[in-house]
């Protein structure tokens, strides 16, 4: 679904990623780990087309990002749900409106209005549907971001440090939600430097761990 071939990327004169080759297959579960500043977020951005590789190629659902028109990138992002550490909501809209936003911008609607209630119940936010994002806690915002990421029923979920601003219990709960999505056939990638989170996932899901070090991505499953 997402293929990176000898990808290199840097900011200014510094190289952040070099000769990165990896593949995210349908239904797979990945942790992307590495120290802060190693390039986890950059790699995630390459995976949903916000950045274009300086060298090598990134193919999303068979299309090379470099060859895509702007509307193609928008279309691809409807198939990739992204959850950021800082969530990024429209603060003037209610939580429910924010979650529905991907449907709104693509001119679609839910088949059944009760689906929204089910989604809110799934992330435990039924009571906060009409609240504005600034009124929510960090954990609630992360769960809302996850709900927004899945409302279009995307094929891939990319979660960049989704547990960075929440306590351990909430981290476990978010992980469980992502595992549930993976069991529904979604490809899940979680960027995190929290090794405890990765270890706690071992009993729940067959996860592959990718580690970024020295600008390269290496498989690190055996080191867990």
């Amino acid at each position: 679904m997402i293929e990176l071939e000898q990808v290199a990327y840097g900011y200014g004169t510094g190289t952040l990623l070099s000769d990165v080759t990896m593949s995210l297959a349908q239904g797979s579960f990945h942790f992307l780990t590495g120290p802060s500043g190693a390039g986890k977020t950059t790699l995630m951005k390459l995976c949903y087309g916000e950045l274009v590789a300086e060298q090598g190629s990134v193919a999303l659902f068979g299309q090379n990002v470099r060859d895509m028109q702007r509307d193609d990138v928008a279309e691809i992002r409807r198939r990739i749900g992204v959850v950021h550490q800082d969530c990024q909501f429209l603060d003037h809209l209610s939580l429910a409106e924010n979650i529905m936003l991907p449907l709104t911008v693509s001119g679609r609607a839910l088949h059944d209005p009760s689906e929204l209630q089910e989604l809110l119940a799934w992330v435990g936010l039924q009571q906060q549907a009409n609240a504005k994002p600034p009124e929510l806690s960090g954990g609630e915002r992360q769960r809302a971001a996850l709900a927004r990421a899945v409302i279009m029923s995307p094929d891939v979920i990319l979660a960049d440090e989704p547990t960075g601003n929440v306590d351990w219990d909430m981290s476990v709960r978010l992980l469980q939600l992502l595992v549930e999505l993976n069991r529904m056939g979604k490809t899940v990638v979680i960027a995190t430097h929290d090794m405890n989170l990765i270890r706690s996932a071992k009993s729940q899901v067959q996860a592959r761990v990718l580690r970024i070090s020295n600008h390269q991505v290496t498989a690190a499953g055996a080191n867990l």
Binding site: H92, E97, L101, V105
Partner: protein, 300 residues
């Protein structure tokens, strides 16, 4: 029909999509105020241009078909020379009508300068003969030659000497009015572009979120463009109404009225200001669309 339906669809909009862009107080007020001010000025520029156009037409038409013969002669020769002039005019091709001005008419002409108690009968005032041309007009040089031979005190003034610069001035003023309208339009476009660009910069987070969830450039641009177009439409409608009201309340042009009192619109010309709001909306639409697409092109 397609254009009309597109305009109606654009104006009716998508309530949900409209909410995507947060209300931005400063740029909203700036756009509405600038549109209202520009429309107000545009009404006056339009009225100025139309009034000077009317003036040029009036001076051109009225003065081009008339001439005056001034007879300055000793009192004992005045009647003889007047008779001679009248006879010459009666046999001159191109003269439709010739009429000596009466004493009351001459007094009315001089009254604004010398007051009502002017002893006209005791002053050596020249006699004036008003000449109206027919469509073909007369030969001014030939008429002057005949007057010089048969009525040496008579001088033909065909108004050409001062009519032409007046008509030229009025025509130039009309052009300046049109230039003012063009400048006002351009300025409105610039102000709305700046306001839209400021709003786009202020809403960078909104754009980032919309991009993240798969919004196309056209969707994001449309949300901004529609909002600014409607603001410009509303603001310019208010400015146009105020401008038209101010024109309506100007003193009416009476017999003594000059150019300024004739500045208002007349008859069907009152329909012209109705063009201003939709035109302002069109300018806002084009300016905001260009600003939005340019800004969005800079971001992936």
């Amino acid at each position: 029909m397609t254009l009309l339906s597109n305009i109606l669809r654009f104006l009716s909009g998508d309530a949900q999509a409209d909410r995507v862009v947060p209300p931005t107080g400063f740029t909203a007020r700036l756009t509405v105020f600038a549109s209202a001010a520009m429309a107000f000025l545009a009404v006056f520029a339009l009225a100025f241009s139309l009034a000077t156009g009317r003036l040029a037409d009036r001076w051109g038409d009225a003065l081009a078909k008339s001439a005056t013969i001034r007879i300055s002669a000793p009192a004992d020769q005045m009647d003889a020379q007047l008779l001679a002039v009248t006879e010459i005019l009666a046999t001159t091709p191109g003269v439709k009508e010739a009429r000596p001005l009466g004493e009351d008419e001459q007094r009315a002409l001089l009254e604004p300068w010398f007051g009502p108690d002017l002893p006209l009968d005791r002053l050596p005032i020249p006699r004036l003969v008003e000449v109206i041309e027919d469509d073909e007009g007369f030969d001014a040089a030939g008429l002057r030659a005949r007057l010089a031979g048969e009525a040496p005190g008579a001088i033909l003034d065909d108004h050409a000497r001062w009519r032409e610069p007046l008509v030229k001035a009025a025509t130039r003023l009309r052009s300046l009015g049109l230039v003012a309208i063009v400048l006002i339009t351009a300025l409105a476009g610039v102000v709305i572009t700046l306001a839209a660009s400021a709003a786009l910069s202020a809403n960078e987070q909104v754009i980032r979120v919309l991009r993240l969830i798969g919004a196309r450039d056209s969707y994001i641009a449309h949300a901004f463009v529609r909002r600014y177009t409607l603001r410009a439409l509303g603001g310019s409608a208010v400015g146009t109404v105020l401008g038209a009201l101010a024109l309506f309340l100007l003193p009416s042009a009476g017999a003594e009225g000059g150019f300024l009192t004739g500045l208002g619109l007349q008859g069907w010309q009152w329909l012209w200001p109705l063009v201003i709001p939709p035109f302002a909306a069109l300018v806002a639409f084009l300016a905001t669309r260009q600003a939005a697409l340019t800004t969005l092109q800079e971001k992936r």
